[in-house]
Amino acid sequence: MSAKLYLIIPEIILVVGAVLVTVLGLSRAKALRDAVPGATVGLIILAFLSVFAVTTDERLAAAGLLMPGLVVYGKSLILLVSASLVLLGVGLVDRRLERAIGSGQVAFDPIRVQRGEHHAFLLLSIAGACLLCNAPDFIWAFLAVELVSLPTYIVVASSKSSRKAQEAAVKYFFLGALSSAVLLYGIALLYGATGTVELEPMRQALAAQAASGGISTLAIVGGVLAILGLCYKISAVPMHFYAPDVYEGAATPVTAFLAFIPKAAGFLALILVLDVFGWSGHSFTRGDDLYIIERGLPQPITALLWMIAVLTMTLGNIGALLQKNVKRMLAYSSVAHSGYMMIGLIAGPAGIDGVSGINATLFYLLSYAIMNVATFGPLASLERNGEEIETFDDIAGLRQRHPWMAASLAIGAGSLIGLPPLLGFWAKLYIFMAGLEAGQWHLVLVAAINSGISVWYYLRLINDPLVAQPTARSETVTNGPSIWPRAAAIVTAGLLIVAPLMLGRLVSAANGVTRGEATTAVAAPPTETVVSDASR
């Protein structure tokens, strides 16, 4: 028990920090209120550091986790990216109110300020995503996923004082509730089929079922429903309908947050669910020995993932083609990228040179997070007459007045296309190679065609800021109130160029997550084709 407590110290820091930040935001002193974003980032960094301080091999072993490697990698990924996501929103909340208070038009009223709670909700959501990394059972995992989502509903509503944002929040909440119900139903069925909610015992129970005549229908239906429920978090078909409306309605920094944190949580949870079912069974030979891993995803689950991946990529890309609003376009692109990442999940442990599909997915998640900030950053840091910029007209000819932002946008879009040598290229390469290695060449072909389609609309993000002539709208675009969103955009755009130089490091960090994953022996010795799977 104490091992589990130690491991969630980063989350405890975040939750306590959420309270702290709320109080700070209610302070009468303006300086303290202004310190809220800084304090939030500081707390995130503190949590990040504490991850390394508290995580030891003994504690990981004692916590009974399904994938112990996920704790360090997943949490550092989430925390580092969320720090930059919080920076994108500096100067967003309470801007008009603070100006009114500053000029003496309005008296300070603790009821009306929102900055503290906005950041507190962000912290809670981040804490949820972190909690997921060391979930020992499905109850924990479900609560963590809900902790990720619930604060985001509120943040969407409060981020902008427009009807659109309210509408987006309501849609997001109700559809989210629907998806949670589906997820919970799936978990309940799984419980019914295996008699446990803990992940490791459940995996062993399913493996035993698989060994003795196949996994029961109940468990498979449960798994399918759980996956479909989680599809909402990763905005995958058929649960993606909310994404364009919500992304467009929310303030841009919040959109960037939504495009990453729930998605990361969703993928982490999907990895856990799929690991419970055991990953793709394929054989390989080394020397004269034939090794067959009898733990494959059941056929229906693979079919499900396959269909979701194809539909998600295709519908995401096709939807993005038609958009005139940059945020809406990026929402569809976010859908499409979820589709690419699904390939890695289908490939599972298959992969080359130690980079399995799971690792490729995690690496893609990291790359997508960086591109996400680099692309949303310029939109978040520029404004026109105090309104956020969101159409292609707004960013036309941006290079003339905001060259750095134009460059960041273009680099981000280039990476989203997957242009070498940017980070996005390598992420896609690893995903595709894992897919090919798993024999899913149909899927990789579909993904490649989709990448081709996506060039069409991403090139607009490169062309409009860099090549097109400024329009009347873009002439009046000015810098936002804070320098931090710009800094975050520039740094992440730089990372997209520099990070491939450290590719080996980044990929091997992802490798740590699943190293030894396949060595956990199947509970009951299944069939005699298994020569050994412990030697992997």
């Binding site: 849609k171 559809l175 649960m239 909310y242 056929q299 079919a303 396959w306 890309n317 096709i318």
Partner: protein, 759 residues
């Protein structure tokens, strides 16, 4: 095997050796029993991982400089940081050199820094593409890095004063680009595989582009930057294809592996198989010709003089343009894969040397004269590589780096002082202008060295090349040697034409147009000395005060002069038979020499007496070359002295007479117009491309590809998208129903798959 034997007559016995992977410099140097050993397995030296800082420091300083630009730093901080970083890098190289023993038996050292690209799809060789951040350190690497970082530091010091009128954003940009350049150059030279070499190759190209186009307000600078970039692309494509073919044939891009595999290939005589193997040297060569400005890709270098002068000195004279020489020297074993590869290199080099020298004789822009002389000297280096004396070529790179940097910086000091004036007809008598004494006399040293007078550094290096060419009777190498001697005469002439015009004669000058942004009038008061003197001679420059260089410029010029003198020491020591040649030992301990047949016997080991029993003009080769190049050098100077110091009018009269003569009048005109090569390229490539690409292809693109095919295809997804559009109706209940419907459909699909038993 057979054609190798014709290439190098000593080959059969050379390859009869044991093929021991660990060749040593000693054995190669002594040429013992002709048992040439191939450079093979390199030993890993993880304890030298600090050598990575040699690359990292310039990169960090570049980042710092750009940050300074972002934070609007308005002082010389970027320069100081760059100087400190480059100086420390030089210190590290020096430390590495002191720890490295060229005669060490373990061969080259490799230092693995970290994993980079690892794509593996099988166990067999050739089924992987691995490029790690690793360093490959041998004599050649250290030799190169010593002068790259050393000169880089000196030139950064020079630039800290030279660029001072730009302090602010541009100053940061300049030093940032210098940092990027040094990083890229380090990666090019020290990288342990071809991917790092290519990274550095492109990196120096980018830095060069940024710096040539530094004065981006000036259309000529922008055009020159573009020209350099585009012409280099042609070469870089060759390099890229060469690297690809190398990987395809040897299954690796790691130097150690390539050299081993290459030696096995040649030793087994298995030239069969794929004919594309023989193309490797030619593609690599194309890359080298592009970067080092050889025929046919040389026209970008003179135009590159639009960049600030320290850049011309560092990048376009001393270091970057020698990357081509480095490439061939480093990959020398690969150049044995085809019998005529090296001969091609020799001929291209010799002809470039001659052609550039002829053009250099008729230019009036001081920097352009030196630019053409750079092209010409690079030609000598390629000639040296081609005739088999990698030592001569690399040593010439080394000596050339010093005196050419000196010459460029001296002309930069003139430009700095005379408001951008570079026309040698408009400045005269510089040696008597107050404050320009050091400039004038250090420039004289540079000119003497460039003319390769006896006992100067270039004398030893250039004559090594010419001597080897002269004593080799195959493939017209002797013709090239005579051409080289003629070029030496012309070199001495055009060099001293500049010096006598600019530094000799009566003192008279006109200021330049200050187009290069060196408007010093605004802060004349800051500079005490050099002003306020009476300019009695400056009849045509009323009101213009030359801006004399101060400590940094003068100090660097003096240091470079000392460096140029010292660079001759290894050659002198050998000449006086006082000991082995240091430079030769460094080159001998590298892939440029070890195990390469014929070289072991030549000058590589510094034991020239082994090599040349051949005679020239009935004399011993050494004596003959000594006499010939002395005559060439002094002859050129004498002609220059007559026409440009003693009787300057005679030069004009001669030119008019020549122009008036219908038989040879075309010659000076052609020389002045650079043999119309630019015009030829325009006619051959640019206009066809403009016409074909700009009109024909544009029409096809607009109306057929774009209008018909692309837009047609693009309409399909958009049309499909519209099909789904009604689903995104923005209504909550609509979404909910669609989601549930979607779940239902997907469940139906799963049931179908389940029934069918497969996707």
């Amino acid at each position: 095997m057979t054609h190798l034997a014709t290439l190098f007559p000593s080959l059969p016995s050379a390859l009869a050796g044991d093929g021991d992977a660990h060749g040593t410099a000693h054995r190669a140097a002594e040429g013992a029993a002709a048992a040439a050993t191939w450079i093979g397995g390199a030993t890993a030296h993880p304890e030298y991982s600090w050598a990575g800082w040699i690359l990292l420091l310039p990169l960090l300083s570049a980042v710092f400089c750009f940050l300074c630009g972002a934070f609007r730093v308005k002082n010389k901080l970027p320069a100081l940081v760059t100087i400190a970083a480059l100086g420390s890098a030089f210190g590290l190289v020096l430390t590495l050199y002191l720890k490295y023993d060229p005669t060490h038996a373990s061969g080259p050292m490799t230092v693995h820094l970290f994993d980079w690209i690892r794509v593996v799809w099988g166990e067999k060789p050739g089924q992987s593409f691995v490029a790690d951040w690793s360093l490959y350190i041998d004599g050649l690497t250290l030799f190169w890095m010593l002068f790259v970082t050393g000169l880089g530091t000196l030139i950064a010091i020079f630039a800290s004063e030279y660029m001072e009128s730009d302090v602010g954003g541009n100053y940061c940009r300049f030093f940032g680009a210098v940092g990027i350049f040094l990083f890229a150059m380090g990666s090019l030279v020290m990288g342990g595989n071809l991917a790092l070499l290519y990274l550095g190759w492109e990196g120096v190209g980018v830095a060069s582009y940024l710096l040539i186009g530094y004065y981006y307000g000036k259309p000529t600078a922008v055009a020159a930057a573009k020209k350099a970039f585009v012409m280099n692309r042609v070469g870089d494509l060759g390099l890229l294809v060469g690297i690809y073919l190398t990987w395809r044939h040897f299954g690796s891009i790691d130097y150690a592996t390539i050299f081993k595999a290459c030696s096995e290939t040649i030793a087994n005589g298995s030239h069969g198989g794929d004919w594309t193997k023989g193309l490797i040297p030619y593609f690599l060569m194309l890359g080298a010709f592009g970067k080092s400005a050889q025929i046919p890709l040389f026209t970008w270098l003179p135009d590159a003089m639009e960049g600030p002068t320290p850049v011309s000195a560092l990048i376009h004279a001393a270091t970057m343009v020698t990357a081509g020489v480095y490439l061939i020297a480093r990959l020398y074993p690969l150049f044995l894969l085809h019998p005529h590869a090296l001969h091609t290199v020799a001929w291209i080099g010799g002809l470039t040397a001659f052609l550039a020298a002829t053009i250099g004789m008729m230019q009036y822009d001081m920097k352009r004269v030196f630019a053409y002389s750079t092209v010409s000297q690079l030609g000598y280096m390629f000639l040296g590589l081609g005739v088999g004396t990698t030592f001569g070529a690399c040593y010439h790179v080394f000596t050339h780096a010093f005196f050419k940097a000196l010459l460029f910086l001296a002309s930069g000091a003139v430009m700095h002082g005379f408001a951008g004036q570079l026309d040698i007809r408009k400045i005269s008598g510089l040696r008597n202008v107050p404050g320009f004494k050091i400039v004038a006399w250090t420039m004289l040293i540079g000119c003497l060295w460039l003319s390769a007078l006896p006992f100067t550094a270039a004398f030893f290096s250039k004559d090594t090349i010419l001597l080897v060419a002269m004593t080799d009777e195959s493939h017209g190498n002797r013709i090239l040697a005579w051409l080289g001697l003629l070029t030496a005469l012309m070199t001495a002439y055009y060099t001293f034409r500049v010096w006598f015009r600019v530094c000799g004669g009566e003192t008279a000058y006109q200021p330049g147009d200050e187009a290069h942004g060196h408007d010093d009038h605004g802060h004349d008061a800051d500079h005490g000395h050099g002003h306020g003197h009476s300019h009695g001679h400056a009849a045509d420059a009323h009101g213009f005060h030359p801006h004399a260089p101060r400590f940094a410029i003068n100090g660097v010029l003096l240091l470079l002069a000392v460096g140029a003198i010292l660079a001759g020491l290894p050659g002198l020591i050998e000449f006086l038979k006082m000991g082995p040649n240091w430079a030769a030992e460094m080159i001998a301990a590298s892939s440029a020499t070890i195990g390469v047949p014929n070289l072991t016997e030549g000058l590589a080991g510094g034991h020239a007496e082994h090599a040349h029993h051949a005679t020239v003009l009935g004399m011993d080769g050494h004596t003959a070359m000594f006499l010939l190049s002395t005559v060439a050098g002094f002859g050129g100077i004498a002609i220059a002295a007559y026409y440009h110091l003693v009787r300057r009018r005679a030069a004009e009269t001669l030119k008019q007479a020549l122009l008036a003569n219908p038989l040879i009048g075309w010659l000076p005109r052609a020389l002045e117009n650079k043999w119309y090569v630019d015009e030829l390229y325009d006619a051959l490539f640019r206009y066809p491309i403009v016409v074909f690409g700009g009109h024909v292809l544009a029409w096809i693109d607009r109306y057929i590809l774009d209008g018909g095919i692309i837009n047609g295809i693009a309409r399909i997804p958009a049309w499909i998208g519209r099909l789904f559009q009604p689903l995104y109706n923005g209504l909550l209940q609509g979404y909910a129903i669609t989601m549930v419907g979607g779940i239902g459909l997907i469940l139906a699909w799963i049931v179908y798959v389940w029934m069918k038993g497969g996707i």
